[in-house]
Amino acid sequence: MTDILMPALSPTMEEGTLTKWHIKAGDTVKAGDVIAEIETDKATMEVEAVDEGEVAEILVAEGSENVKVNTPIARLAGEAGAAAPAQKAEAPRAEAAEPAAPAAPAAAPGPRVELRDPEIPADAKLVKTTIRDALRDAMAEEMRRDEKVFLIGEEVAQYQGAYKVSRELLQEFGDKRVVDTPITEHGFAGLGVGAAMAGLKPIVEFMTFNFAMQAIDHIINSAAKTLYMSGGQIRAGIVFRGPNGAASRVGAQHSQDYSAWYAQVPGLKVIAPYDAADAKGLMKAAIRDPNPVVFLEHEMMYGLEFDVPEGDYVLPIGKAKVRREGTDVTITAHSRMVGFALQAAEQLAGEGISCEVVDLRTLRPLDHETIVESVKKTSRLVSAEEGWGPMGVGAEVVARVIEHAFDYLDAPPLRVHQEDVPLPYAANLEALSLPGVDKIVKAVRAVMA
């Protein structure tokens, strides 16, 4: 007997919906036959048989949702062979200098310990929403509100977004306002900035910010600097958005955190939200903002669900948020690292260490008042970011704290960040390279020592 397993159809897929079987018990299949359709968080894909044989049994019924990767979904009678797809064997672990940080499960949301957001009205109805849908809703609402807003990028229209963030926007707004481009980042980013100068409000999606390096001249030289160079005459109100940072096992060229790059540039605003409410509220603010905004999303978080207030929820740009109050140490973080910081805080609470977690949310302008106020209370600082350490966001946070709260510090601040190497592909090295809960916990213990 050969088990057919639920396949992983994308680097970040952990589960999916088995939408349709093309085979039934008693059928004979051969390699290459389409046997099923599976809907992932990104797309609906056909699955082909790898082995030959007679279908003995369908184990997971059509329509089943949340089927975990590697769950047996059908069984073939016939010669025993390699399971299809190959069973994931646990690779022998290379000896690591320190225990590899357990790659926190992507699908596990951070602990629900956050404070009530004062920006959320007490009577607001909260709706569980994925970050993906929160971003989509934000764009759709703003496109309904303002005819000048349009979305442009690779695969945003017919494909519905490489990460499904633009799902159903084409259907609602048509191809005039949801524009598929050729693979031409430099060109369409420049085109977007030109359209913004002419008074439109483009949302330029980069399939990932790794590809935006081809377009960075327009983001900085054309968008960020023009208001200044024109003495205030020419605006470039535009949103550059897309996933930023490391995904999973996609190698160095597809796994870079650009937070520090953009946050250095005057003229840009840079936003990197953690949860779905912030993703929505800040995306709407970004679209309404008359300046160029770089909006850094995280591929590993699109599928996570959080409470989002119903209605026209717009947040101020440039305000950090205290996600968890504490008295012993301040942890600053943004984007996905906030979840790790909250998990670390929870773990450290068990050791009697009280952590305050400050979610930066906006990197430019950086809300250093909130950071400094927190450090004045806790007297210790750990910064956490996914990108490289040198000249990074943490370096800036630490510098600001030293400038404004030096006398309050009881220990040298520490930075948690990616190891100073291009992100490796091998699972164990990748886990070693990326910062996670363990590294934050260690850093906190170190500043407390």
């Binding site: 349009f150 005039k176 481009t181 050729p182 031409t184 430099h186 060109g187 369409f188 980013a189 420049g190 085109l191 977007g192 900035v193 030109g194 359209a195 913004a196 100068m197 002419a198 008074g199 439109l200 001249d217 327009h218 030289n221 054309s222 023009t226 208001l227 200044y228 160079m229 024109s230 003495g231 205030g232 005459q233 020419i234 605006r235 109100g237 005057p266 003229g267 605003k269 309404r288 903002d289 008359p290 300046n291």
Partner: protein
């Protein structure tokens, strides 16, 4: 190295049997605008030498017929114009105040960008002039976006997108061509082929030197035009613009022109012979060409003298303003970094 085929020097426009004509009134206007650019640029060069203008300063002398001929098709305030760093001539043609342009060159508060942009970065939304861009080729993608905005709004505006033979080798130019033709954008690409990308001649930089054909793999038609002949420029642009306004999509116009001065003020001019420059000045000068046409049209020496005197005054006033206008107040350092969000 194989020598590239000699480029055509005759324009298709010139081959049209009916020689283009213009009224005396039009010719006087062309003359006035071309002389304004030339005298303005000469004085700019002088102010640079005096240390009143800093940094880079790229003069347009020799290429005046291009901007002046193109402007005849521009619906001011409706169409959009964008160019690279050799931009003074385009700004004057677009209708910007010579005082503000000169004061920007001297870095004064009265400059069109309050002194914060400089020679390469001036803009004027009222006249539809969108810069003034210092990164070679960037204006092509930006200009394609201006055209995109016109089509998005559903008006019949077109975008006039100037770039040089040097920019014509930048990758984003072709990314832009592809999208412009794919979406039939009203983009008029005007390649000012002055034969030299900084100090590198087109033969040394381009595997094919017929730049009007650079859109052919995208299906964008092109035409080579004698860029020293203002009437040829005017007519070729008018045809391309009519087509674009009617939804026909982008068009490439290669203007064969020549710059008399160096790439910038610090150019040692070691890459071309003085005789080559003198020959163009003597035989193809765009202003001499208009003078000849004016003579045929019955304009008198006095007509031209009156214009010369008027221009002299305008440029002198611009120079005076550019020197008297104060430097920006230090408080301007932190203005215009962000637009304050409006309610």
């Amino acid at each position: 190295m194989a020598k590239a085929p000699a480029s055509k020097t005759t324009s298709k426009a010139a081959k049209i049997p009916n020689t283009p004509t213009a009224s005396k009134e039009d010719l006087l206007r062309f003359y006035r605008e071309m002389v304004l650019i030339r005298r303005f640029e000469e004085r700019a060069g002088q102010l640079y030498g005096m240390g009143l203008i800093g940094g880079f300063c790229h003069l347009y002398i020799g290429q005046e017929a291009v901007a002046v001929g193109v402007q005849e098709s521009v619906k001011q305030g409706h169409d959009k114009i964008i160019t690279g760093y050799r931009d003074h001539g385009h700004m004057l043609c677009a209708g910007m105040d010579p005082k503000e342009v000169m004061a920007e060159l001297t870095g004064r508060i009265g400059g069109s960008s309050k002194g914060k942009g400089g020679s390469m970065h001036m803009f004027d939304t009222a006249t539809g002039f969108y810069g003034g861009h210092g990164i070679v080729g960037a204006q092509v993608a930006l200009g394609t976006g201006l055209a995109f905005a016109g089509r998005y709004r559903g008006d019949d505006s077109v975008a006039f997108i100037y770039f040089g033979d040097g920019a014509a080798n930048q990758g984003q130019v072709y990314e832009s061509f592809n999208m412009a033709q794919l979406w039939k954008l009203p983009a008029i690409y005007i390649i000012e082929n002055n034969q030299y990308a900084m100090g590198t001649s087109i033969e040394r930089s381009s595997s094919t030197t017929q730049l009007s054909e650079r859109g052919s793999s995208f299906g964008i038609p092109g035409e080579q035009v004698d860029g020293m002949d203002v009437l040829a420029v005017r007519d070729a642009v008018a045809r391309a613009v009519k087509r674009a306004r009617e939804g026909g999509g982008p068009f490439i116009l290669e203007m064969k022109t020549y710059r008399y001065r160096g790439h910038s003020m610090s150019d040692p001019a070691k890459y071309r012979a003085k005789e080559e420059v003198d020959e163009v000045k003597k035989t193809r000068d765009p202003i001499d060409h208009v003078k000849m046409l004016l003579d045929q049209a019955g304009a008198t020496e006095d007509d031209l003298k009156a214009i010369d005197a008027e221009i002299k005054t305008i440029v002198a006033e611009a120079v005076q303003f550019a020197q008297e206008s104060p430097e920006p107040d230090p408080s301007e350092l932190y203005t215009d970094v962000y637009v304050e969000a409006s309610a």
